[in-house]
């Protein structure tokens, strides 16, 4: 029972990271019908920006003196990384996706694969291919509840992810831009006719999705201790599966899907074998595509000519 609870705790914290990344996939897919393959790499760049920002703010000095990194600086690291990733997301959209937006579906897809590949390999050249230890912008405190080991890091991950997701929910429901995003995902041409500046809304969609992915990147670094330039490939894929599981295009679906994928992965690692933790995600993907391709919370849309 304790082991089960332990896996649930770990699964929820991992799952909330997947959920943060899945939001970016689902928002972009909802509007452009494009699988933004580069999203996993934006997540990686976010993690690295956090890494360098923390170094620049002197995290090593605090560690050497055995002091905690001040909380306001940790928040600053998060904000810097999110801003940098948002810029990167907008740049990708402007330079690579906008020129091919009206082309047949395959063209943007290949472009996205190209951007993803470019960022991975540019990352290997810039950041070195070796894994880096993530700076302790939050020092770990362990405590026990009902025999289950909980760390403040797992709780923070869960809390930060929850706050960001709530913020996104309010943004999408209450602001003008949020309403425009929903309009675009409903019918982009009609939205254009209603006088919505679609370019601006798409740009902000990329900015928000990328910022959330960067937050996911920092939380991932805290959780998994090391980061490397290829970390975005598998994590990005899993987050995409989470988006499909929840129903691609649906924001609550991405959150539910992310948490479920995190739980499934931890339970597989705990009860079956750690080797199959990556395989279970794809098994879920194949099952969902066979049984309920619109996802748990998605709506069936009839394809029209």
């Amino acid at each position: 029972m304790t082991q089960f609870l332990q896996q649930i705790i770990n699964g929820l914290s991992l799952g909330s990271i997947y959920a943060l990344i899945a939001l970016g996939y689902t928002m972009v897919y909802g509007i452009l019908k494009l699988i933004n393959f580069a999203h996993g790499e934006v997540f990686m760049v976010g993690a690295y920006t956090g890494f360098y920002a923390a170094s620049a703010l002197g995290v090593a000095g605090f560690e050497a003196k055995n002091q905690n990194f001040p909380l306001y600086l940790a928040v600053l690291v998060l904000v810097i990384a999110m801003a940098a990733a948002a810029l990167l997301g907008m740049a990708i959209e402007f330079l690579a996706y906008r020129p091919v937006r009206s082309a047949p579906r395959l063209t943007p897809l290949i472009t996205a694969i190209g951007v993803s590949l470019f960022l991975q390999n540019a990352g290997m050249l810039l950041f070195s291919p070796n894994p880096q230890r993530y700076p302790a912008i939050l020092s770990e405190v362990r405590f026990e509840m009902f025999g289950v080991i909980v760390t403040n890091i797992k709780l923070t991950i869960f809390a930060v992810a929850l706050c960001l997701m709530l913020g996104l929910h309010l943004f999408v429901k209450k602001t003008w831009t949020g309403r425009a995003m929903r309009a675009l995902s409903f019918n982009i041409d009609a939205a254009k006719l209603m006088g919505i500046d679609t370019n601006r809304v798409i740009r902000s969609t990329f900015a928000i999705g990328s910022g959330l992915a960067a937050a996911g990147g920092i939380l991932f670094g805290l959780d998994q201790i090391t980061i490397n330039p290829l970390m975005g490939v598998l994590t990005g894929l899993k987050a995409f599966v989470a988006a499909v599981l929840g129903g691609i295009g649906s924001i609550p679906g991405a959150v539910v899907g992310g948490l479920l994928i995190g739980l499934a992965e931890q339970l597989t690692a705990g009860y079956l074998s750690p080797e199959y933790r990556d395989a279970i995600t794809f098994l879920i993907l194949i099952l969902i595509l066979l049984l309920k391709p619109e996802g748990l919370l998605g709506v069936v849309r009839v394809e029209k000519v």
Partner: protein, 336 residues
């Protein structure tokens, strides 16, 4: 009469390939021979992938996985067949040829079956799901081979013999298989089925409205494409004495995509050119290893923005060359 002419032509072709084989071995160093073999294997990969990515308009980005299945399958079956076939046919060249080709076919069968397993769930839906599923498949298959102890785990499979797998792959067999697969895919592409595949690419909903069995055709094309990747994998395995999981990383799938995009999505002659281009450029860029993928990625993005249909588009080289100049329009008669 036609049949006789045809078989004479085939026999002459085989003989001349055999003569070419001798010539290649005499004329080129082993290094150059290796590049030629690799180019041939690339051509098989590119022509096969082009059937699904170019002609049918679906998108697989994990074809290295099918190549891996074919490579391991062919290597394993080849090793297991060696005993009985040598027992029945002696140890001459005939026995080797029988073992090699049976092994390649077995590899193609395994790859084709895994293509069916991957394709059936994902091809019922729109093409971009296939991209994700194949990407996942490519990763998982590598993890599986990494952990399969009877296939040598991470060190790779080198057969029971300490010198590794027999080096069956030579110019003759590569050229023969390239020709067979190019002819097969060409005939398929320009058949009625091929037209239906192109219809799926152009407009799936319209194709379905015309009573085209879209899902069945997509899955069939995908399985054929996977099987050809399996053949290429088998040739590759018997070229370098063994197979390692590391040979089939994601980069391999990207190489294949570059091949067909450079040549032109949907063009068989374009795929052939692309396959040769990648084999040669890999050698030329050997010193720039770490920049290679950055350059490939930029190449993909730039081609997509500037010329998304690739060098040839869906046209074929021989059609371009054969095409007659349009009849000169008659001089306009001046009205008085």
């Amino acid at each position: 009469m036609r049949a006789i002419i045809r078989s004479v032509v085939v026999a002459a072709a085989l003989l001349s390939i055999y003569a070419l084989q001798m010539g290649v071995e005499l004329a080129f160093t082993e290094y150059v021979q290796r590049i030629i073999l690799l180019a041939g294997i690339n051509v098989i990969l590119a022509v096969g992938l082009n059937l699904i990515n170019g002609t049918t308009g679906q998108f697989s980005i994990g074809h290295a996985g099918f190549m891996a299945v074919g490579a391991y399958g062919a290597a394993f079956v080849g090793v297991k067949l060696a005993g009985p076939v040598h027992g029945a046919l002696g140890t001459g060249g005939l026995a080797d040829a029988v073992i090699f080709n049976l092994a390649l076919l077995a590899g193609a069968l395994f790859a084709g079956i895994s293509g069916l397993i991957v394709g059936m769930p994902s091809l019922r839906l729109r093409g971009d799901y296939l991209a994700v599923v194949t990407l996942g498949f490519g990763e998982i298959i590598r993890i599986l081979f990494n952990n399969a102890s009877f296939l040598g785990s991470a060190t790779g499979y080198f057969g029971d013999d300490p010198s590794g797998l027999p080096a069956y792959t030579n110019f003759f067999w590569v050229f023969a298989w390239v020709s067979a697969i190019v002819v097969l895919i060409h005939n398929l592409t320009f058949s009625q089925t091929g037209r239906s595949l192109a219809a799926i690419r152009e407009d799936e909903v319209a194709a379905e409205a015309m009573a085209t069995p879209t899902t069945r055709l997509k899955v069939t094309a995908f399985a054929i494409s996977a099987a050809t990747a399996g053949i290429a994998g088998g040739l590759f395995a018997h070229m370098q004495a063994g197979v390692r999981p590391e040979d089939f990383r994601f980069e391999k799938s990207i190489d294949m995509i570059v091949m067909i995009i450079v040549g032109g999505l949907g063009s068989i002659s374009g795929a052939i050119l692309g396959g040769i281009f990648v084999a040669v450029s890999l050698e030329l860029m050997r010193d720039l290893q770490q920049y290679r993928l950055v350059l490939y990625a930029l190449l993909l993005i730039v081609i997509m923005i500037v010329r998304p249909q690739g060098l040839l588009g869906t046209r074929e080289l021989h059609h371009l060359l054969r095409r007659k100049k349009p009849a000169r329009p008659s001089a306009p008669t001046e009205s008085v």
